[in-house]
Amino acid sequence: MSAEINLTLKVWRQAGPNADGRFVTYEASGISTDASFLEMLDIVNERLIEAGEEPIVFESDCREGICGTCGLMINGQAHGPQKGTATCQLHMRSFSDGDHIVIEPWRATSFPVLRDLAVDRRAMDAIIGAGGYISVNTGAAPDANLTPVPKETADTAFDAAACIGCGACVAACPNSAAQLFTAAKVQHLNLLPQGQAQRWARTEAMVETMEAFFGSCTNHGECEEACPKEIPIDFIAWTNRDYIKAKVKNRKLAG
């Protein structure tokens, strides 16, 4: 059943990319437990505007947990306390009356803060551009049923492809590594028969582009815990295997 709760928020405010940031405390009173976390922030922002203060900048779009636009550190946890749930799908029934909630942007050098809780995640697009595709020009495709794909393979590829590109894995990682994001895309394509032609080139290019932007993986596993799509770190292991193979194969092919 729904109830109303009162909360104290400590929110990171930062006027711009080069400005100094600080925590500002807001009282959020009379919040329904049926509200989503972002609807709670909507309410706080309405009240700020009425009081003549600029609202808190935070990003969201679909509010269905699929577009990957939203993402907040909530009490130090990427996307908050509910497992397998993006910030927009987190509801206030996960909190209790009187709670203090610390709200921060994703914390990673590769995700510079733009304003308040909004960050720049373009480095992730660069990793996709490095090889996160199968090169097939429009019109060149054979009949879709020409190549059977075992159901298990298709399902596992899907488990990887479910990544929404939110960046929670990076934010949760003590090293700010993007291994889970990268491995999810590498393995989605490397598992499928359609992805074999570029498997080794893709793996090397994507991993090395990732290393140029992000920290390195030291197997903490925080990324899997934070991932709203619960993508397993097995994909990282498989990508490490593919990367070693790729370094050999790409050299052999080149020579």
């Binding site: 049926d34 990957g68 551009g129």
Partner: protein, 640 residues
């Protein structure tokens, strides 16, 4: 002045029009393609697919999106699937049947030639997506699986769990990023188009605002392609993403592009009912759930019993009762209207009595919970996260919500608007769904337009301008457009009113839902035409936009979008008032059969209404494009 609108539909038999037209269109040779600049606004299925395909062909493409990454576009949220006439199930499907179902589903208010072409290229989309690595659902033999969807009696829907839109968009996005890396496509994220730039009666560019720095930037090109989605957020509460808006299309409308059939809006039957005033959006539960879920309400009014306490004899499976042939799989407009009827009768369920049950207990008893979990697990999880109720043990509660808009900018057969050089694709145009879209057809249309139609037709336009450079951005038309954007920003910031943009958006949404929602009538529409302008006047006088124009300022972004929605809402009311018939998603209470079904007036309304902007404060002029049906006989849609 415009005469009767000519869609430039090629002559010939239905099944040869597109093939013949592809041959007769002029080509741009490969070396010359790199001398043409094309701007694509929007990076959803249509935009990403077109930009990638044009880049592959060798055009110089610029993609503008207000998202932080092209992958965020709202196509990503489509759940259920994509139709294609592959007939892999051997159940009697064909290009003609998909064409026929789409024309009938659209209540005979779409162009035959466009819809046939859509059905024709649907099969290529599945091939293309599969080759890109889109992980469609498969059978144990490794071949592609299909399911059935509303408005069809064959299984032609391809799907990727409940995330088909996500997987198709990631496919198009990966193709786009390949071109970005190659250098054929220049990607501008966080860039919102705020003006269309015209020169000599043609579209020659756009002006954007950088959402981070506030910088106003001119972009010049030989052609401008809009793929900017629909306007469902005019209702405030809808299944659309929060940022979806009509601004790019509306700014083009204000520069002369005709806006067609704005009153054709689709209310999706299976959404989670609103729970309170703070609700920021409504969440869709895929229509595919209607394959296995049974929709019912109690027979008795205000039955207070829990669902499991209500025996079958006291339940009304109203869709199965009224439409035995299609049952729970009737098209969206029919399902939505019937849900509204039973809720209005006082037979709604849930704490606010604003829903109907969607019950899986029969399917779970028949197939086992594991099968249902495999098919719909992610949807059930999402439902539980939002409502706090477990749909494996308690029936889901659903209610209709705005989901898609069939209306949009008018385009001809080549997807060009009446403004030369301005092309419009996907949900932003009006072309293929008539008065009602069938499920799993939006993804099909977006990708058909982007991959397989526009890349051909744009060459036919561009070939006239070979050798002409794109207009220099130092020309006065660009300076004027930049100044207009700067003035607009200053205007919002200087109003200094008392209420937020969201406050007015919410109020607007209530008016539009009440008067231009699932059922419309003359009195309500006339009220809308007086109340919407009054609220708009207050908005422009009393909105409060804080901060400045040279930073990330979300209130400022929204201010312009909501202003455009106000103008659109008024046009929707005018369009709905003028269309004195019921068809598809447009249900006029004055025009219904004795048993409450939509009653068309084919004699007077077998046409597209396309509205021409006449300047602020003057109502638009209504133009007509007559719809010719040479292959399909117009009948009253029956799903009984």
């Amino acid at each position: 002045m415009l005469g009767s609108l000519d869609a430039r539909i090629p002559a010939g038999s239905l099944d040869s029009k597109w093939t013949d037209h592809k041959f007769s269109m002029r080509l741009v040779n490969p070396n010359n393609k790199r001398r043409f600049d094309v701007i694509v606004v929007g990076s959803g299925l249509a935009g990403a697919a077109a930009a990638a395909s044009l880049g592959e062909l060798g055009y110089r493409v610029k993609v503008l999106t207000y998202h932080d990454s092209p992958r965020r576009a709202h196509s990503i949220a489509a759940q259920g699937g994509i139709n294609a006439a592959k007939n892999y199930q051997n159940d009697g499907d064909s290009v003609y049947r998909l064409f026929y179902d789409t024309i009938k589903g659209g209540d005979y208010r779409a162009r035959e030639a466009n819809v046939y072409r859509l059905a024709e290229v649907s099969v290529d989309i599945i091939d293309q997506a599969t080759a890109q690595g889109v992980p469609f659902a498969r059978e144990y033999g490794g071949l592609l699986d299909n399911r059935s969807f509303g408005g069809a009696q064959v299984s032609r829907t391809f799907y990727a769990r409940g995330q088909t839109g996500q997987q198709l968009l990631l496919g198009a996005y990966s193709a786009l990023m390949r071109q970005v890396a190659t250098g054929t496509v220049e990607l501008h994220t966080r860039s919102e188009m705020l003006e269309l730039v015209m020169h000599d009666g043609r579209a020659v560019g756009v002006v954007t605002r950088d959402l981070i720095t506030g910088e106003i930037v001119p972009h010049s090109a030989h052609a401008v392609v809009l793929a900017t989605g629909g306007y469902g957020n005019v209702y405030f509460l809808s299944t659309n993403a929060k940022m979806c808006n009509v601004t790019a299309a509306w700014r083009a409308h204000r520069k002369g592009a005709l806006f067609a059939n704005p009153c054709y809006t689709q209310i999706h039957p299976t959404c989670i009912p609103a729970s309170d005033d703070f609700q920021s959006k409504l969440t869709l539960m895929s229509e595919s759930l209607r394959n296995d879920g049974r929709i019912w309400v109690p027979v008795a009014h205000e039955d207070g019993r829990a669902p499991h306490e209500i025996p079958d004899a006291d339940r009304d499976y109203f869709l199965e009762r009224k439409y035995p042939a299609f049952g729970n799989l009737v098209p969206r407009d029919v399902a939505s209207r019937n849900a509204k009827t039973v809720v209005d009768e006082g037979r709604g369920v849930g704490p606010l009595r604003n829903g109907v049950y969607l019950d899986f207990s029969g399917a779970m008893a028949r197939d086992g919970e594991a099968v249902i979990r495999a098919k719909y697990g992610n949807l059930f999880d999402m439902y539980e996260r939002i409502t706090g109720e477990d749909p494996y043990t308690v029936p889901m509660r659903i209610y209709p919500a705005t989901h898609y808009t069939m209306g949009g900018l008018w385009v001809d057969y080549e997807l060009m608007s009446n403004v030369p050089g301005l092309f419009v694709m996907g949900e932003a145009n009006f072309s293929d769904h008539g008065a009602n879209r069938l499920g799993a057809s939006a993804l099909m249309q977006g990708l058909a337009d982007g991959y397989f139609i526009l890349p051909y037709t744009i060459g036919n336009y561009l070939s006239d301008y070979l050798g002409d450079p794109a207009l220099d951005t130092s020309e006065p038309v660009f300076a004027d457009a930049e100044q207009a954007v700067a003035n607009e920003m200053n205007r919002w910031l200087s109003i200094g009113g008392t209420r937020s943009v969201d406050h007015y958006h919410r109020e607007l949404g209530k008016l539009v839902w009440d008067y231009i929602g699932m059922a419309r009538n003359k009195t309500g529409l006339e009220k809308a035409l007086s109340e919407i302008p009054a609220l708009r006047e207050e908005y422009h006088r009393n909105v409060r936009v804080l901060g400045s124009a040279d930073t990330l300022n979300q209130s400022l972004e929204k201010a312009g979008r909501v202003a455009d929605l106000f103008e659109l809402a008024e046009l929707m009311a005018r369009d709905a008032l003028t269309r004195e018939e019921s068809c598809g998603g447009h249900f006029r209470e004055e025009h219904q059969t004795t048993d409450g079904e939509a009653m068309r007036d084919d004699e007077n309304f077998t046409h597209v209404a396309a509205w021409e902007w006449n300047g602020e404060g003057t109502p638009q002029t209504r133009h007509r494009e007559e719809l010719e049906f040479e292959n399909v006989e117009l009948t009253q849609r029956s799903y009984k």
